[in-house]
């Protein structure tokens, strides 16, 4: 009889897979209460390292051509497809759903990458504008990446929720620090392994596992985080994050599984440029 080779679930920061600098891990159990894994319990320092990595990757990712970003996000879908059975196993173990339901979730997640990949090079066309101002000026508005976004993935959907939150943030040209679902963190880490092999530059996505309530205040008060997707926070945690986030006027939004370009636009800033017209 062969003994399984089990995976050590680590963090994903700056394109590498370190353990928490704190040396901490926490126990994750199946829906039936059986031990599955000891993922890292990320600390404030890990979060700060992840923000540094996301900020360093920001200029490159946001100035990559929209077509290039679209191809990379599509590549994520391609690589995920080949790992379907791994994600199915993780979802079944964690969420306690049937393999068929888990497979549906994985397929929905893959298709969502494809959908948002297609938005990369269309969002400016549809939601930008040429504005007919009075006077002899050319005036145009384009949506641009906001910068570094902290993403609290939904707590109940271990894979689809992660993609629902992450894909629009990346399509907009932002870099991200994703905090995985506290109880269902494993598919997020496996997604990190997909991202690492999908031409997504290191630092564009950073994934932390751990205790949401511990990490939320540090994310919310970090002055180099521009915005937060608060979908995975409780109402009380979201309020606290809004209070902490006031210091640099973070843009904070929460969503309910919506599939809409509004999720991309939420993490974009509109820039308007004027220039005189003349000879």
């Amino acid at each position: 009889m062969r003994i399984d080779v089990k995976k050590t679930y680590k963090l994903y920061i700056g394109g590498a897979f370190p353990r928490s600098e704190s040396g901490r891990s926490y126990e994750v159990k199946s829906a039936k209460g059986v031990f599955i894994a000891n993922p890292s319990q990320a600390s404030r320092k890990d979060l700060r390292d992840a923000v540094v990595a996301a900020r360093s990757a920001q200029a490159g990712w946001s100035s990559a051509t929209a077509f290039n970003r679209a191809q990379i996000l599509y590549r994520v879908a391609e690589i995920m497809e080949g790992r379907t059975s791994q994600f199915v196993d993780e979802i079944v173990a964690l969420e306690g759903v049937t393999p068929a339901a888990a497979k549906k979730q994985v397929e929905a997640a893959i298709d969502l990458w494809v959908w948002y990949a297609g938005w990369c090079d269309k969002i400016s066309t549809i939601f930008g504008a040429t504005n007919p101002v009075s006077g002899s000026f050319y005036n145009f508005t384009t949506p641009e990446a906001m910068g570094v976004v902290g993403v609290f993935a939904p707590q109940k959907s271990s894979l689809l929720g992660v993609v629902q939150s992450l894909a629009p943030v990346l399509a907009a040209g932002n870099t991200a620090i994703l905090i995985a679902s506290e109880k269902f963190p494993l598919p997020a880490i496996s997604l990190g392994e997909v991202l690492a092999t999908s031409d997504v530059p290191g630092g564009v996505v950073n994934i932390l596992t751990g205790i949401t309530a511990e990490l939320a205040p540090w994310m919310a008060s970090h002055m180099d985080v521009d915005a937060i997707d608060a979908s995975g926070l409780s109402a009380a945690q979201e309020k606290e994050a809004r209070l902490e986030g006031v210091e640099n006027l973070k843009r904070i939004f929460a969503f309910k599984g919506d599939q809409t370009p509004q999720r991309v636009l939420a993490f974009m800033e509109n820039k308007t440029v004027w220039h005189p017209i003349g000879i």
Partner: protein
């Protein structure tokens, strides 16, 4: 040779000031319940203009109740095309009464009549005209097939462009189907109250627009009112952050237009005379009381000397004085408090070792005045390079390479505006792309239009005002 100009004051006969103004609630002017009033003065001569009612809690409650009632019973049921017609009417009446508004705005605010006449009032009318046409076309605005208003919107506006900021707030709110409780700034309430008369002349249903005058306490009553679904605020970053804290954990939406420290970047190949005009417009327009002012001049090192010589020559020609004089370029500082703030920050510039320059400039004996001023030898750490002065004071900083210009321009917690001066098209677009600012003027500055979205990155606020994008602020669930 110097030219002497004969005074050319605009007549104030067109303005009929009342001794006392009430609050505008449910279509009528009413005194504050407790009878409290405060005075508004002309900052150019410190003369008393009028007494204005001070709204306390029960007054704000009455205004919100009126707005709620009007929303439920009238405004939300009215066909959108009819709603739009009221906005067209308002735009037309503002045009008809433009001179009266321009003179009153100059008197209450201290800004030159040339600006109120040519910028503030025409743009305010244009904002209503522009948004009037949106009212029955919202399903085409890219915000869903059936976009919904919030209901009652609370709006708080600053003193730097009193009527124009009112129009930026009220026009899109009404066009999208909301009703309004608006508080004008404490030092500049009069054109908002004159606007209330315009609402009456337009036959706008009672309660759709309510105007409550008062101070910061009145504002916080609006922010914290349980029946207000959305807050729109223009003003300081400090107050904006206070509002963001107050509404955290509530269902209230908010847009915030806050401070700025705009970088006006001059490259070595810039057309120098036009650039000098642009710098003047960037920092001395409206006494520098402009959140998007070009208050940091970033100049490429090899042309700094030539540019500053020309700037000095031009600044010496700025005419400071009576705001009602048609030849005046620089009017009065809006209040004693603002003058004290400018002096304090300029004092910090002196203390931190920057070099200050102003042309010879006689200041009137009465009123609040500050001469056009620039600082050289400014470092990025100096307060005058980081904090918003909101006065006619420019900080000059040099750079050598375009990359350094971008780094310095973005080295601020704000992100509202920026300017670019160069002859090279590709450099304009490269620079614009790398600047973290919501509004970028290339080879021009301080241009505004109802069709053009306005608003900032980072600590300059949340959301946009104007254009298609500005509609999102007044519709539920869109960004």
């Amino acid at each position: 040779m110097t030219f002497e100009y004969a005074p050319a004051p605009e007549s104030t006969a067109v303005v009929k000031l009342k001794p006392e103004y009430g609050l505008f609630i449910n279509g009528k002017f009413v005194p504050a319940k407790d009878g409290k009033t405060f005075a508004t003065i002309n900052p150019a001569n410190e003369q008393h203009l009028a007494k204005v009612a001070y709204a306390s809690e029960s007054d704000v409650n009455k205004a919100v109740a009126a707005a709620n009632e009007a929303y439920k019973k009238i405004w939300s049921k009215m066909p959108a095309a009819e709603r739009g017609k009221y906005l067209y009417r308002i735009a037309r009446i503002l045009q008809e009464r433009a001179r009266e508004f321009a003179v009153l705005e100059s008197m209450d605010n201290g800004k030159p009549i040339r600006e109120t006449r040519d910028v503030d009032i025409p743009l305010a009318a244009a904002h209503f005209f522009y948004h009037a046409g949106w009212a029955d076309k919202l399903e085409h605005a890219g915000m869903g097939s059936n976009p919904k208003p919030h209901g009652v919107v609370g709006q708080i506006i600053p003193w730097n462009f009193p009527l124009l900021m009112l129009s930026w707030k009220i026009a899109p709110a009404l066009a999208t189907g909301n009703t309004v409780v608006l508080k004008p700034a404490e030092t500049t309430p009069l054109t908002a109250l004159l606007f209330a008369e315009v609402c009456q002349q337009a036959g706008l249903p009672a309660g759709v627009v309510n105007i409550v005058t008062g101070d910061g306490k009145t504002g916080s009553l609006i922010v914290n009112h349980k029946d207000i679904q959305k807050i729109a605020f223009t003003g300081s970053t400090a107050v904006g952050k206070g509002i963001a804290r107050a509404i955290a954990g509530t269902k209230k939406a908010a847009t915030l237009e806050l401070g700025g420290k705009g970088a006006n970047i001059v490259f070595e190949d810039a057309p120098i005379d036009e650039t000098v005009e642009g710098i003047i417009n960037g920092i001395f327009f409206n006494q520098g009381h402009v959140c998007c002012a070009g208050s940091r001049l970033l100049v490429q090192e090899n042309i700094q000397e030539e540019l500053l010589e020309k700037l000095k020559r031009r600044m010496a020609l700025i005419r400071l004085g009576d705001p009602l004089d048609k030849n005046t370029d620089l009017g009065a500082i809006n209040s004693a408090a603002q003058l004290a703030k400018i002096r304090e920050l300029v004092g910090s510039g002196d203390a931190e070792g920057a070099e200050r320059w102003s042309p010879a400039c006689d200041l009137p004996a009465k009123g609040f005045w500050y001469p056009p001023t620039f600082f050289t030898g400014v470092t990025q750490a100096n307060r005058i390079a980081r904090e918003e002065i909101f006065g006619p004071v420019l900080s000059v900083i040099s750079f050598r390479t375009p990359q350094e210009a971008i780094e310095k321009a973005n080295n601020t917690p704000f992100g509202l505006s920026a300017g670019i001066w160069t002859d090279k098209g590709s450099r304009i677009l490269w620079t614009a792309k790398h600047l973290k600012a919501g509004v970028i003027w290339a080879n021009t500055f301080n241009k505004f239009d109802p069709a053009s979205p306005f608003g900032g990155y980072k600590e300059s606020g949340w959301g946009r005002e104007g254009g298609r994008h500005g509609l999102a602020a007044y519709l539920k669930g869109v960004h």
